[in-house]
C-alpha cells in the first residue's frame, strides 16, 4: 500500500513538473534559445544523484563498481560541462548590459 501511495504522489509531482516546464520557458526570447538548451542540458545532470547512490552502495561486486564509476563520471561531465558552457554563453550577453550603447559610441568616436 505504501508503495502505491508513493507512486501516486510521484505521478502528481511528474504532471505538475510537465506544466511547470512548459510555463517557465514560454517567456524565453529566441535569442536565448541556445543557452536555454544548454541550461536545461545542465539541469538533467541531476542524474548524478542517482549515480552517487549507485556507487555509494556498500559491498559492491565488480559489475557494480564498473557501472557505478561509469555513471558518476558521465553524470559529472554532464553537470560541470553543462553549467560551464551555459555560463560562457551567458557571459557574453551580460558584458553588453549597462552602457552597451554608450560603449559603442565611444568606440566609434
Amino acid at each position: 500500500m505504501a508503495h502505491t501511495t508513493l507512486l501516486v504522489s510521484e505521478v502528481t509531482v511528474l504532471v505538475l513538473a510537465i506544466f511547470l516546464g512548459f510555463e517557465v520557458i514560454s517567456k524565453v526570447p529566441t535569442l536565448l534559445h541556445t543557452p536555454l538548451m544548454s541550461g536545461t542540458n545542465a539541469i538533467h545532470g541531476i542524474v548524478i544523484v542517482g549515480a552517487i547512490l549507485v556507487l555509494a552502495q556498500p559491498d559492491k561486486n565488480a559489475f557494480m563498481w564498473i557501472v557505478g564509476l561509469a555513471a558518476v563520471t558521465l553524470a559529472s561531465a554532464n553537470v560541470v560541462g553543462g553549467f560551464v558552457v551555459t555560463d560562457r554563453m551567458l557571459e557574453m550577453f551580460k558584458k553588453r548590459k549597462g552602457g552597451a550603447a554608450e560603449g559603442t559610441e565611444e568606440g566609434a568616436a
Binding site: A17, G21, G39, T40, G50, N78, G81, V85, K97
Partner: protein, 462 residues
C-alpha cells in the same frame, strides 16, 4: 540526515532549477540564474553524498574529478562556434549515465526475493531505453557537427523499416522484462538495440536539422532521468528530469516551427536528400558573378544602408570581430549598418546572437527576421556572410525545393547582394541556391574572416 530533511533540501535544489530557467527570460539576469542553478546542483550532490554514507567516498570523488574535470576543460576550451556539438556531447553523457544507473538498479534488485514492482521495472526499462537512444543519438549528432562523419543525410531503401524493427526489438525486450522475465541480459539487449536505434535514427538527418535533433535528444535525456527518478523513488530526479523533458519538448516544437517544418518531417523526412522528385532535374542555371574585395569595399563605402546577414560560415571563420570592425568603419562614414538575424541561422537558434554578442555588437543593431525583411527593399547592399539556406529565394518561390515554405530573409530584394562564400558548394542542407546567380548578386569567394578583414582595410583607404 533523515529522509524528510533530504527531501526538503532537494526541494531547495528544485527551486533553484526553476529560477535558473525563469531568469533566462531576460539576458541581464540569465547568467545569475545559471549560477543559482549550479549552486542548487552542488547542494543536491552534497546532500546525496552525506545521505549515502561514506562507502567508497574516494571512488566517488575520483569519478567526479575525472568526469567533472574533463567536462570543465572541454567546456572552457571549446570555441563558441563549436557550442552546438558540445551541448550534444554533454547531453549524450547524461543520457548514458541514466541508462547505466538503470542497469545497476536492475542488478541490485534482481537477487532480492520476489519480482520488482511493475512500476519499478517499467521505469528501469524506459530509463535505459530513452537514455541509450539519447546517448548514441547525441554522439552521432556530435560527430556530424564536428564533421567527423559527413553532414549529408544517409539514406537507403527500407531505412524506416529497419529502424522500426530495431526499435521494436528494444521495446520487446523491455516488455518481457516488465512481464516478469527476470534476466539481466534482457536489459543489456534492450540497451544494445536502443544504442543501435539512436545511431540509425540520427544518421539520416541532415546537418541543417541537427539543432532540432539535439533539442529533442535533450528532452529525451530529461525523460530518461525522470524515469530514473521513479526507479530510484527519488523525487528530485522526477521533477528536474521532467522539467527538462517538458521544456525541451516545447523548445523542439518552437525550433521546428521557426523552420516552418514539423518535427516529424525533420525526423523522418531525411531532409536535404539531393533528389526531391520532380524538382531533382532542376538545377540552378545562370552565371555567377565573382567580384573582388576592392569593388565591394567601394560599394559598401558609398552605400546609405547596409544589412549584414551572418550565417554559419561567419561562425566557422570566426569572423564576428572583423565584421564588427567593418561595421564600425562604415558607421564612421555615416552608413547605417544593421544585422539581419534569421532565427535558425547557424546551427542553433540564437547562435548568431551569441557570436555577435561576443564581438560586442550593440543590441539595437540586431534585427529579427520580420523587421529585417521590411527593410531590405530600402537596403543598398546586403552582405551575406556564410549564410545560405536562410537566404534561399527557392523557399519562397519553388514548391519543389526541400526548404519550400521556410521563412527566409529576403536579401534578394535589396539593391545589391554580396555573398561571401568559400566556394560554390551547396549549403549544409545540400540545396541549390538561385540567389547566387541572381541579377543583383555578386560573389566574393574566400574565407569569410580574410574577406571581411580585407574589406575593412580597403574601406579605410577610401
Amino acid at each position: 540526515m533523515s529522509t524528510n530533511v533530504t527531501n526538503l533540501l532537494y526541494l531547495i535544489t528544485v527551486v533553484t532549477f526553476i529560477l535558473a530557467l525563469r531568469f533566462l527570460s531576460n539576458p541581464a539576469h540569465a547568467r545569475r540564474g545559471n549560477q543559482i542553478g549550479a549552486a542548487g546542483m552542488v547542494l543536491a550532490v552534497v546532500v546525496t553524498w552525506i545521505r549515502a554514507g561514506s562507502a567508497s567516498w574516494w571512488a566517488i570523488a575520483l569519478a567526479m574529478v575525472v568526469g567533472g574535470g574533463s567536462g570543465a576543460v572541454a567546456a572552457r576550451r571549446v570555441k563558441m562556434t563549436a557550442m552546438p556539438q558540445m551541448v550534444a556531447l554533454f547531453n549524450g553523457v547524461g543520457g548514458g549515465a541514466a541508462a547505466v544507473v538503470s542497469l545497476a538498479e536492475l542488478h541490485r534488485l534482481l537477487p532480492q526475493p520476489g519480482a520488482p514492482e511493475v512500476d519499478i521495472s517499467v521505469s528501469i526499462a524506459l530509463s535505459a531505453l530513452i537514455g541509450a537512444i539519447s546517448f548514441a543519438g547525441s554522439l552521432v549528432a556530435f560527430a556530424k557537427l564536428q564533421e567527423l562523419i559527413g553532414g549529408r543525410p544517409l539514406t537507403y531503401r527500407g531505412q524506416q523499416l529497419a529502424n522500426g524493427l530495431v526499435f521494436l526489438a528494444a521495446v520487446t525486450a523491455g516488455v518481457a522484462l516488465v512481464a516478469g522475465v527476470q534476466d539481466e541480459w534482457l536489459l543489456w539487449a534492450l540497451c544494445g538495440a536502443a544504442l543501435l536505434f539512436g545511431v540509425l535514427f540520427v544518421l539520416p538527418i541532415g546537418g541543417a536539422d541537427m539543432p532540432v535533433v539535439i533539442s529533442l535528444l535533450n528532452a529525451f535525456t530529461g525523460l530518461a532521468v525522470a524515469a530514473g527518478g521513479f526507479e530510484l523513488e527519488n523525487t528530485i530526479l522526477i521533477v528536474a528530469g521532467m522539467l527538462v523533458g517538458a521544456s525541451g519538448t516545447l523548445l523542439t516544437l518552437m525550433m521546428a516551427r521557426a523552420m516552418n517544418r514539423s518535427v516529424a518531417s525533420v525526423l523522418f523526412g531525411a531532409f536535404g536528400k539531393v533528389q526531391q522528385g520532380a524538382s531533382s532535374g532542376r538545377t540552378v542555371d545562370g552565371s555567377v558573378r565573382p567580384t573582388t574585395v576592392d569593388d565591394v569595399a567601394i560599394l559598401l563605402a558609398y552605400a546609405q544602408k547596409v544589412a549584414i546577414v551572418p550565417g554559419y560560415g561567419m561562425a566557422v571563420a570566426q569572423a564576428q570581430h572583423d565584421v564588427r570592425g567593418l561595421a564600425d568603419l562604415l558607421e564612421q562614414r555615416g552608413t547605417e549598418v544593421t544585422y539581419a538575424i534569421h532565427p535558425v541561422a547557424g546551427r542553433m537558434p540564437g547562435h548568431m546572437n551569441v557570436l555577435l554578442a561576443e564581438a560586442n555588437v550593440p543590441y539595437p543593431a540586431l534585427k529579427e527576421m520580420e523587421e529585417a525583411n521590411v527593410e531590405f527593399r530600402r537596403t543598398d547592399v546586403s552582405l551575406v556572410i556564410g549564410a545560405n539556406d536562410v537566404v534561399n529565394p527557392d523557399a519562397r518561390a519553388n514548391p519543389g525545393s526541400p526548404i519550400y515554405g521556410m521563412p527566409i530573409l529576403d536579401v534578394d530584394r535589396s539593391g545589391t547582394v554580396v555573398v561571401l562564400k568559400r566556394s560554390m558548394s551547396p549549403g549544409f542542407a545540400g540545396v541549390d541556391n538561385p540567389l547566387f546567380v541572381g541579377p543583383n548578386t555578386m560573389m566574393l569567394f574566400g574565407d569569410a574572416k580574410q574577406s571581411v578583414a580585407g574589406l575593412a582595410a580597403a574601406v579605410k583607404t577610401l
